[in-house]
């Protein structure tokens, strides 16, 4: 199949590559760039494991072709920590709130949550749950993810957003 040239920025680095037009963005990221932090959990755009940012907004990278990302800026889970390795507040919040178990949904969850927090600086529980509808997690039951998103959003600059449900083990 004839390849098409694309050029784009991924995690701050500029790439010019040739790809088959049918190559999904996630395949390009994983297989061609070795950005294996972005994961694939389904083939129907339902799980959200592949979520990355395109020009700052979250998208499912299994749902667009690499050629469509031509000229755009992509950020993956590998590109959100500071250059010195300091974790992004949302990454830190996921860790602090024990919002992951097997970790497979986690990169996608974090990328989606950052976008969510940019949109809703003080998200209440219902907002978080609604906005995470496209990201499936089989391990956590979501409770700690919701907590983490609220805590991460707060750290990202939103005003105090108290967790509406602080249910926990006594």
């Amino acid at each position: 199949m004839a390849k098409k040239p694309i050029s784009l920025t991924v995690d701050g680095v500029r790439y010019a590559d040739d790809v088959e037009p049918r190559t999904l963005l996630v395949q390009y990221l994983r297989e061609q760039l070795g950005k294996t932090g972005t994961l694939v959990g389904c083939d129907t755009t339902n799980c959200g494991a592949c979520t990355v940012h395109l020009d700052g907004r979250s998208i499912k990278s299994c749902t667009m072709f690499a050629v469509q990302a031509d000229g755009h800026e992509v950020t993956t889970i590998e590109g959100i920590a500071a250059a010195d390795g300091t974790l992004h507040p949302m990454q830190q919040a996921f860790h602090e709130c024990h919002a992951l178990q097997c970790g497979f949904c986690t990169p996608g969850m974090i990328m989606q949550s950052i976008d969510l927090a940019n949109e809703h600086p003080e998200p209440d529980e219902a907002t978080v749950r609604e906005n995470l509808e496209g990201n499936l997690c089989r391990c956590t039951g979501y409770q700690n993810i919701v907590k983490a998103v609220q805590a991460g959003a707060k750290e990202m600059g939103g005003a105090a957003a108290p967790a509406s449900t602080e249910a926990g083990v006594a």
Partner: protein, 826 residues
């Protein structure tokens, strides 16, 4: 300062790589010259393969090899069933690649090996397979009749019949007599019910993936598996390769829930392809493949009879199960229902009990372990039955349970199955749950809504449970004809610097062993948590082990770590005494230091370790190095328990079910890390609630999986679930030194009956006393419509695994609304 790591809410060590995208899932592996596999799968549930033409595929770009079942018929062996539950158990051969017949839709019939994944997938479409369709058997109750056969050559659909009878075993009375007595006596009652456990799909988020590197003397396999040790052994046995020639690595594994407790055809096939081509080979399934071809769970018809006095004391319980094996026996397929056999009597003093299970084949992918394996099915049935009995007797369901449960003073208690429950306090957990729930207020609201004829009715679902965890005493497993033991292995190595390496035979797929084991060792040895490194999931490093399933990691694997650490301390003490020129008996060990009693003289474990490394000054006969390994074989299971309560709103006009409040109080004994425990409970609840409300593997008449993607297999999202109120009581297990019981399955086991009991409680007064799972709006609505036509929903209710089930309107079951009055546990 005393180290108190046990019980500390430590943040997990394993998070760092997972939150930064540096995870090591199998599909991330790339090896030089690696080839890729694509499977050709049967679209038919039952058919003869009459011809396979792979010439076009073989000639396609990038294709290195196309392998059919006939090509490897003499070397692929038969996939293992490690649990032949009866000596005369029947099982068809189970080839990794079907040779002349397929027995479920999705079975592999050919494999394409190519330079890239895309080329492999493209060429797979070019493999031309001719089939002659055979009659398809899907329904369990049909399977019982043997009119259609899932495997014509077997002559029957019955794989095995397994029976336990307390009268015959001498552990209790004769249940037939108890039931007959209840029929005859005025002051007794008999309740007969049939419940259905729908087929579920474990649906771990990481699709299964395998990489095999055959390019060195020892073949290395990376696989998304829960059971690297068992996999290595079984691969060796299946393929006739010496075990020493195979190394299995389970790197980061993205969830399992029993679904990765298997030797999969795909693992065997990747191994065959790698050996055939001499090149590293990778296979990663798509989600659609995962849903059709990774094993399913549950799938039982449960026929129950219960006798009780009219004041609510149970006198006998009879259980007859039909268990769907699917088309083949996987690793523990046949044993799953038997794990449930021991759990039907649950927390109750049942004086007479009979259990029989008929294992039946159907033309669907095989069933095997799924979170709880046998115990959720059993708990569901007995908890539904207790509610039905309470309703018949017009008694509060909590009161009924109180009348029958084992009281705190009665522990240890030998059950009618012969299990010894070591500890528990059902009253304490229940009292706490009722308080957090606001039981009396909600009952008052329920009454008010009933009186007012509110279109939205309130139901309260109760579920009390116990389970057997810590699988298992090897002797018990032997008596049940299980093919392996239940022990576990650990090694604790002091390094010259004073750091510690811990090797464990149980490898995690999300459970946080690296953190919990670090806590155990830090606590035991008195070294900093940060100084402990935990290694697992590689048969070359963890040389022995029986792997991770059945909530056995902590109660068995954690205890092996304790045993190994204690051996290290014992050896260190000999050396410390020598270094301090003191008698061993005069030394005490605390906080990582040996001190001579009554003096300030002491030596730290790190110094002892360095001394064993330098080995300049060791007592005679003491070997250099300070490490030790140990195996632990438990003497008994552990028995977590708990009480779960759900408040369900049911809209009688639409059938919409809303989970308004969920409270659970679990008793899992002592706790090593409360954060991890809480996370396990949340995740378990989500899966149990999903069985009650969302999930079901649905097949059409031809045996095609209709719920073949996440579009229609409804794994709940955050929007589908509420926040949970969780709390604990702690009754230490007396059968292990940590006092731990296990938590991985508790939430799943208890929540399904709590939710369904709540839904039925909301509408029972309207004449509905049964609704099949998942309780989708369409089913609830249909049950309400049929309520005046006899026994509740049964008129409208299709049988489990019946094609009729496919009628459900998946779109309408999208979301259960979540309520807002979740509380906070203190």
């Amino acid at each position: 300062m005393t180290v108190t790591e046990i019980g500390a809410p430590r943040r997990r060590k394993e998070d760092q790589r997972l939150i930064t995208g540096r995870s090591r899932y199998t599909d991330n592996m790339v090896l030089p010259g690696m080839l890729h596999l694509a499977m050709v799968r049967s679209p038919f549930a039952h058919a003869r393969i009459t011809n396979i033409d792979s010439s076009e595929a073989s000639a396609a770009s990038g294709v290195v090899s196309v392998i059919t079942g006939a090509d490897v018929a003499d070397i692929q062996g038969s996939l293992p069933n490690a649990w032949p539950i009866t000596p005369d158990q029947k099982a068809p051969p189970h080839p990794a690649i079907a040779v002349d017949r397929v027995a479920f839709a999705g079975e592999v019939v050919a494999v394409v090996v190519a330079r890239s994944k895309k080329e492999a997938q493209d060429a797979a479409d070019l493999v031309d397979v001719d089939y002659d369709e055979l009659p398809v058997l899907l329904d369990l109750e049909d399977a019982e009749k043997d009119t259609v056969l899932a495997h014509p050559d077997l002559g029957t659909n019955r794989s095995a019949l397994w029976v336990f009878d307390s009268g015959e075993a001498g552990t209790g009375g004769d249940v037939e007599r108890a039931l007959a007595h209840a029929d005859a006596a005025d002051d007794e009652i008999r309740v007969d019910r049939t419940y259905y456990q729908q087929r579920l799909i474990p649906a771990f988020m990481e699709p299964r993936s395998t990489v095999v590197d055959p390019t060195s003397e020892q073949i290395t396999m990376w696989s998304a598996t829960q059971v690297p040790h068992i996999l290595r052994l079984m691969l060796a046995l299946t393929l006739g390769i010496p075990e020493s020639k195979v190394r299995v690595i389970a790197p980061d594994v993205g969830g399992g829930f029993g679904g990765k407790l298997q030797v999969t055809p795909e693992e065997v096939i990747t191994m065959l392809a790698a050996r055939r081509t001499g090149k590293p080979c990778k296979y990663t399934e798509t989600r659609s493949e995962s849903l059709v071809a990774a094993h399913h769970g549950r799938a039982q018809v449960q026929r129950l009879s219960l006798s009780a006095t009219r004041d609510g004391v149970v006198t006998g319980l009879k259980v007859a199960l039909l268990a769907d094996m699917g088309a083949y026996l996987g690793l523990v397929t046949s044993g799953v229902p038997i794990l449930g056999a021991f759990m039907f009597p649950a927390i109750y003093k049942i004086p007479a009990y009979r259990f029989e299970c008929t294992n039946l084949f159907t033309n669907k992918v095989w069933t095997d372990a799924y979170r709880g394996a046998g115990r959720p099915e059993a708990t569901f049935a007995i908890e539904r039955l207790m509610d039905d009995l309470a309703a018949e007797l017009d008694m509060d369901p909590i009161e009924l349970r109180r009348k029958n449960w084992i009281t705190h003073e009665e522990f240890p208690f030998t059950t009618v199955c012969g299990l010894e429950y070591d500890s528990g306090n059902y009253e304490a957990a229940t009292a706490r749950a009722l308080e957090l729930f606001g039981y009396d207020e909600l009952r008052a609201e329920q009454k008010r809504r009933r009186d007012e004829g509110d279109p939205v009715q309130l139901g309260i679902g109760v579920s009390t449970f116990t389970e057997m965890c810590g699988l298992a005493p090897s002797r018990v497993l032997g008596s049940l004809d299980y093919g392996a033991g239940g022990w576990e292995y650990a090694q604790v190595r002091m390094l010259p610097t004073g750091n510690v390496e811990v090797v464990t035979g149980v490898s995690a797929h999300g459970q946080g062993h690296e953190t919990a084991w670090s806590q155990i060792v830090a606590d035991r040895l008195g070294v900093p948590f940060e100084n402990v490194e935990v290694l697992h999931g590689d048969t070359a490093i963890a040389q022995k082990g029986l792997d991770t399933y059945g909530s056995r990691s902590l109660a068995v694997g954690g205890m092996a770590v304790v045993a190994a650490a204690d051996k290290v301390i014992a050896k260190a003490k000999v050396i410390a005494a020598h270094l301090l020129e003191a008698a061993e008996d005069d030394l005490e060990f605390a906080d990582g230091t040996f001190t001579v009693r009554g003096t300030d003289q002491g030596v730290g474990l790190g110094e002892v370790s360095l001394a064993t490394f330098a080995a300049h000054n060791l007592p005679d006969g003491v070997e250099p190095s300070l490490d030790s390994d140990a195996t632990f074989d438990p003497e008994n299971f552990s028995f977590p328990h708990g009480t779960h309560l759900a408040a369900m709103e049911v809209d009688t006009e639409t059938g919409q079910v809303t989970l308004r409040k969920y409270v659970c109080v679990d008793d899992i004994g002592n706790v090593v890390n409360p954060l991890i425990v809480e996370g396990q409970v949340h995740g378990g609840l989500a899966q149990g609630i999903a069985q009650a409300l969302f999930e079901e593997a649905v097949h059409d008449d031809a045996g095609t999986l209709v719920t073949g993607s996440f579009v229609d297999y409804l794994v709940p999202s955050a929007a589908d679930l509420p926040a949970f109120v969780t709390d604990r009581t702690e009754t230490a297990s007396t059968t292990n030194a940590l006092g731990v019981k296990g938590v991985g399955e508790a939430g799943t086991i208890a929540s399904t009956p709590a939710i369904v009991n709540g839904v039925i409680d909301a509408v029972r007064h309207l004449g509905v006393d049964d609704i099949l799972m998942p309780c989708s709006p369409s089913r609830v609505w249909a049950a309400l419509q049929g309520a005046d036509k006899g026994r509740g929903a049964e008129a409208a209710a299709p049988t489990v695994n019946s094609p009729e089930v496919a009628e459900r309107d998946v779109a309408s079951t999208g979301a259960v609304q979540t309520g807002t009055d979740e509380g906070t546990a203190q």
